[in-house]
């Protein structure tokens, strides 16, 4: 105990180290933007920055959802299928005669997603199946349904769809701001307020940090996990609706890559601010980071695999820098050197 206290004290003694290790992801992202801007002035143009935001939309929204369930210390492997469900259910509903109203279709889609989340929660919490098996199972079952719904390959450019079907994904607000960017900003703000400033959000984090302590404070861990599953499902689904609108179609497989991207953003985010805890601000910055790399590298004319190299390499380098700084400030390296002498 006392030893641990000392390490913390040492860390506090150097505010620079603690600042950099808390915010390095943000600093890194900013530095990266400046770098790309210097290499190609087009990069920092407003239109391009908005494009970056727009391309981060689906990954960001799904990422926030995945963060909510991970913050409650559970996981949801059905997130990819939830994205597909949002797109497919919406596409299918609007191709039916009885449901030509966009808002009705939207409401039904959200209701379906809530049920999906509740199903995951039920199998995990009530029946007691570990979350990753439960959600993996439901994800395949639901994917099967979705394939049946969109008859295999998917629905594209259906004549029944209202013309504004593509508005959320391809439209512009005031003729300049891409709609996905608007959706991302709205959802990010709402979820930031929810997770950081409300009781309900605080409880989700609290259960993730220590479910045992929550019992003694009268907070039901199960309830928070149900909330996490539902929020994850709904947000991933909204991401899917935007995605479907972007591609002007709906496919059962469209969420697969989004899930991995969302997870990556989540992991990046763990290193932001509250180290070691999944958190929404971190995920958002992680999302931006990935989007900036993709956009900037494309502008510089890099090939696809170069992006992977850069993204992975930067992750490793950044984490190494932070670890070394921490070790230095706790005096560990110094002691090692002493030993050698």
């Amino acid at each position: 105990m006392s030893e641990q206290t000392k390490i913390y004290q040492a860390e506090r003694e150097n505010p620079f180290v603690s600042f950099v290790s808390s915010y390095f992801l943000l600093l890194f992202t900013a530095a990266l933007a400046v770098f790309f801007g210097l290499r190609n002035p087009q990069f920092l143009k407003v239109r391009n920055l908005l494009n970056i935001l727009s391309s981060a939309c689906i990954m960001g929204i799904a990422g926030i959802g995945i963060t909510c369930i991970n913050a409650a210390n559970e996981m949801d492997f059905a997130a990819g299928t939830e994205v597909a469900a949002g797109a497919c259910v919406m596409a299918w509903l609007l191709s039916q005669h009885w449901c030509r109203n966009y808002f009705l279709a939207f409401a039904i889609t959200i209701a379906v997603l809530i049920c999906f989340g509740l199903l995951n929660a039920f199998i995990n919490i009530r029946i007691g199946v570990p979350a990753f098996i439960a959600t993996l199972g439901t994800s395949y079952v639901v994917k099967g349904f979705l394939k049946a719904l969109v008859s295999g390959q998917g629905i594209f450019n259906n004549k029944m769809w209202p013309p504004y079907f593509t508005f959320l994904g391809q439209g512009y607000l005031f003729g300049i701001i891409p709609m996905p960017a608007v959706v991302l900003v709205i959802i990010a703000v709402v979820m930031l307020i929810y997770t950081e400033r409300t009781r309900s959000g605080r409880y989700i984090y609290a259960v993730g940090i220590n479910p045992a302590a929550c019992k003694y404070l009268g907070i039901s861990a199960d309830k928070q996990r149900v909330k996490g599953f539902v929020i994850c499902s709904v947000l991933c689904g909204i991401g899917g609706i935007v995605n479907g609108s972007m591609l002007n179609g709906g496919m059962a497989t469209m969420g697969d890559s989004t899930f991995m991207l969302g997870l990556t953003a989540l992991m990046w985010g763990v290193m932001f601010m509250r180290k070691g805890v999944f958190n929404v601000p971190g995920t958002l910055i992680g999302t931006l980071f990935i989007a900036i790399i993709n956009n900037g590298m494309t502008m510089l004319g890099a090939t696809g695999y170069a992006k992977d190299f850069v993204q992975g390499g930067m992750l490793l380098v950044a984490v190494c820098i932070v670890s070394v700084m921490k070790l230095r400030s706790s005096g560990f390296l110094r002691r090692k050197k002493e030993k050698k002498q």
Binding site: K6, T198, R199, R202, Y203, N210, G218, I219, V277, E338
Partner: protein, 509 residues
């Protein structure tokens, strides 16, 4: 036997940023001698041992082993030189045999393959040398805690140590296992002419086992004396020379017969426990029993965090339903603090957040659920100051506090629950040093004076005897006996907990 001590330490000093953990410590340990080191948490005991075992390196001073000056720069070297430490936490691999554990890290091989027969023989040899009877082919997890501790020592002896350091070896043993273990330590010391350093919080054990006692206070060795020349009081006053402890004053409690919390029946896990508990306002009721005797489990049922089959209980005259949860009980003024401090805190949260998370429901958040951060900070500051928590900033992580201060946060916030009537404290002082314990005792006495009913669950009988008005003894899930303060009798309570005493009438209220 020569006069050269096995271990001689001179002016050993170790500094950490901001503190001097060990300040010029000198100590000698001779062959065939058990030297106990006692002191509060943070007094420098573990730093001292870590320097002997090569985990830390002294800034100043020297260490002599068998009259020869040595520099210990790694744990492996210290083991080679014959200094072996048995740590407080169990370090056994539970799924394999005793013999395999004893040889772990020093496996005997034949042609690159494990030579089980040779390892078996080697383990048996160590066992016989120590005069033990544990079967070496038993699987470790099938052994009791006491036997596992002995396996740990067998492992230490496999390296043929000259100096054995035991760090709180009895912490994980049950009452009945402690005595034989201490006898064993005394025996190996004289039979094998060993030097033993014994570290413990429990002074009665220390007096029982050691030839000499060294008292550490604030990184200094303030007293080294033969055991027969020392008394417990002298030890405590040396340990606490920097603390002022007011004597605990237990105000007598006049029983009114009106229980604020009354449990007439409580059954769980499909069994047929006999539990009758009554607590009055202003009364401190102790629950004594071994871990798993039902003292914690029954109260978890009442508090609503463990499902129960039958529950017949009243809080302030109104019944508690069988199906209820802790949120409802908190609203009705029943609070419980967890057995392990780790279960009461959010590690990655600041002090403020650790306090205000409990009060989101009404006080510190708006109807719509938005948190009022200004109120939170103010409220948390009050709780911290009221309870004398030592902290630098409200925003520091709770894990940077000492155990005692952490417990003050946990108890302090519990006391601020609206309309709190009964407080259940489950092992609130476990692992704390004496100064911090006394502060908790004083806090409990203050609560009773403030007309709260307090249930104090503990494995340490002495602390219950010191401050409780009444003690219930749990054994095997039942309440087995009840004692009033006038009839406190240590022997009788102990034997009741072991279910040896005569059947006593259990009455509540």
């Amino acid at each position: 036997m020569s006069d050269t001590p096995i271990l001689r330490v001179r002016n050993l000093t170790k500094r950490f940023p901001g503190t001097v953990a060990n300040n010029s410590i000198s100590l000698e340990v001779h062959a065939g001698e058990v030297v106990s080191i006692v002191g509060e948490n943070g007094a420098g005991k573990s730093t001292f041992c870590k320097m002997l075992t090569g985990v830390y390196h002294p800034d100043e001073g020297e260490i002599e082993l068998n009259g020869e000056k040595i520099v210990i720069d790694s744990p492996i070297l210290s083991m080679k030189k014959g200094i072996v430490m048995v740590y407080q936490e169990r370090n056994l691999v539970s799924g394999i045999t005793v013999a395999e554990n004893v040889c772990l890290g020093h496996e005997i091989t034949k042609g690159g393959l494990l030579d089980r027969a040779a390892m078996h023989r080697a383990a048996e040899e160590v066992r016989d040398r120590l005069g033990l009877t544990i079967p070496v082919d038993a699987i470790v997890k099938d052994l009791g805690a006491g036997e596992q501790q002995l396996v740990e020592i067998m492992r230490a002896f496999y390296a043929n140590p000259k100096l054995l350091i035991l760090d709180e070896p009895t912490a994980s043993l049950s009452e009945s296992e402690v005595e034989p273990f201490l006898e064993f330590v005394k025996q190996i010391r004289s039979r094998m002419n060993m030097a033993v350093i014994f570290i413990s919080h429990k002074l009665d054990e220390v007096f029982h086992v050691s030839d000499r006692i060294a008292v550490f206070t604030d990184g200094q060795c303030v007293l080294t004396e033969k055991t027969e020349n020392l008394t417990v009081e002298k030890c405590i006053s040396a340990m606490l020379r920097n603390h002022e402890i007011s004597a605990l004053e237990v105000k007598p409690h006049e029983r009114t017969g009106e229980n604020i919390l009354e449990v007439r029946e409580c059954r769980y896990e499909g069994k047929n426990q006999r539990i009758r508990v009554g607590v009055e306002r202003g009364e401190i009721v102790g629950f004594y029993g071994l871990v798993g005797s039902g003292r914690t489990e029954s109260m978890e049922c009442v508090f609503g965090i463990r499902p129960c089959d039958v529950l017949d209980a009243d809080l302030d005259g109104a019944p508690i339903p069988v199906k209820h949860n802790s949120m409802q009980m908190l609203e009705r003024g029943l609070v419980m603090t967890p057995e392990r401090r780790a279960n009461g805190i959010f590690k990655t949260y600041s002090l403020t957040k650790n306090i205000d998370t409990m009060f989101m429901r009404k006080k510190l958040a708006s109807r719509a659920g938005f948190i009022d951060f200004r109120k939170c900070a103010q409220f948390a500051g009050q709780v911290l100051d009221e309870n004398g928590v030592k902290y630098k900033s409200q925003e520091q992580l709770i894990t940077t506090l000492s155990g005692g201060n952490m417990q003050k946060v946990i108890i302090g916030r519990s006391l601020r629950v609206d309309g709190v009537k009964v407080l259940i404290l489950d092992e609130p002082t476990v692992g704390m040093d004496i100064g911090a314990k006394y502060e908790v005792y004083q806090k409990i006495l203050d609560m009773a004076e403030g007309d709260l009913g307090v249930i104090f669950i503990s494995s340490e009988l002495d602390e219950l005897l010191a401050i409780c008005h009444r003690i219930y003894v749990y054994a095997d899930g039942d309440i087995y006996a009840e004692f009033d303060r006038e009839h406190f009798d240590k022997e009788e309570i102990l034997s009741a907990a072991m279910r040896q005493g005569a059947e006593r009438q259990v009455s509540a209220g």
